[in-house]
Symmetry: C2
Amino acid sequence: MVKRTSLRGDYCPSARSLDVIGDWWSLLIVRDAFDGLTRFGEFQKSLGIAKNILSDRLRTLSERGILTVVAPADGGTHQEYHLTPKGRDLFPVMVALRQWGERYLFEPGEEHSRLVERDTGQAIQLEIRTADGRPVGPDHAVVLKVPQQGSLHPRPAERLRKSRSKPS
Amino acid sequence: MVKRTSLRGDYCPSARSLDVIGDWWSLLIVRDAFDGLTRFGEFQKSLGIAKNILSDRLRTLSERGILTVVAPADGGTHQEYHLTPKGRDLFPVMVALRQWGERYLFEPGEEHSRLVERDTGQAIQLEIRTADGRPVGPDHAVVLKVPQQGSLHPRPAERLRKSRSKPS
DNA sequence: TCAAACGGTTTCATCATGCAACCGTTTTGG
DNA sequence: CCAAAACGGTTGCATGATGAAACCGTTTGA
């Protein structure tokens, strides 16, 4: 049978992250949540996503603790989807994707939205540094594998039934 | 007809990035490339990915300028896949994903691989700062939309035939 | 020289996605 | 107060994407 791949057991944190938020829509929903969208219809209109898929993703993101479902403060009855702290901590991922996209996926003169500090309007950027503050590039970084299990990567990804199904 | 979604035209750089590298396998391949893997079989063994899918992704990543196909230096005949500068600039994305995964997707005592500076062994982390060096959190950042087109997001995602097909 | 490994491509079954229709509830408004 | 529209989904179906296995030409190695 064709099973979807899971990287839940991988010892590489990047792989596990991708397992959780690496699908087509999840990060886009998170992006819109950062932009202040909270309601089903808002996400749907913004993304043009099919309603069943949106429904599934909102549920999954909630199950995984990235969104939380709350009743709106202003007495309304429709529920709202808000970022949890765990979800808000995806901010650097969004910034990193944004920065790369700005550099490589826009024509020279083409406009794009910009990320700035709210109070000052200053541009925001992302830096990679050592603990004592020296900047580091990809060529000077290396990944230390988990000692146990000699193989380069601990084991090939597991396969399982459905990567993101409702827990029966 | 059911068409895959494309965000190529979105004015949000994050969305465009996800359009390019947001699928299930691409970033995992890039991660392995950062780890020094270069050959088809190495990626296949490491990821446990089906060969046809790997073949497709390597081709797509090359077409998009993230990998480049080179003949090995040591006289061998089998080709190798190397990161381009564009691909290497995905480093911050990998670090951001790693950092989030480390924090939220591992049990307290559970081991994971670590990213360190090669020469010193110091831990590497990612920081978000303004142009003049002040750190910024998600609550103090805001996205300035592209002025033209009043809508919150310029337009719902286009639909098109195949998001990542070979160019006939 | 023969066999195995490498690097894919093709075929086919199954899963995920997208669309449209439907449905109960909430809001609007006449 | 009642009708109609909007909201927030769920269900069913058609189709595209994925995964497994078979196959194949080339390269390696014994």
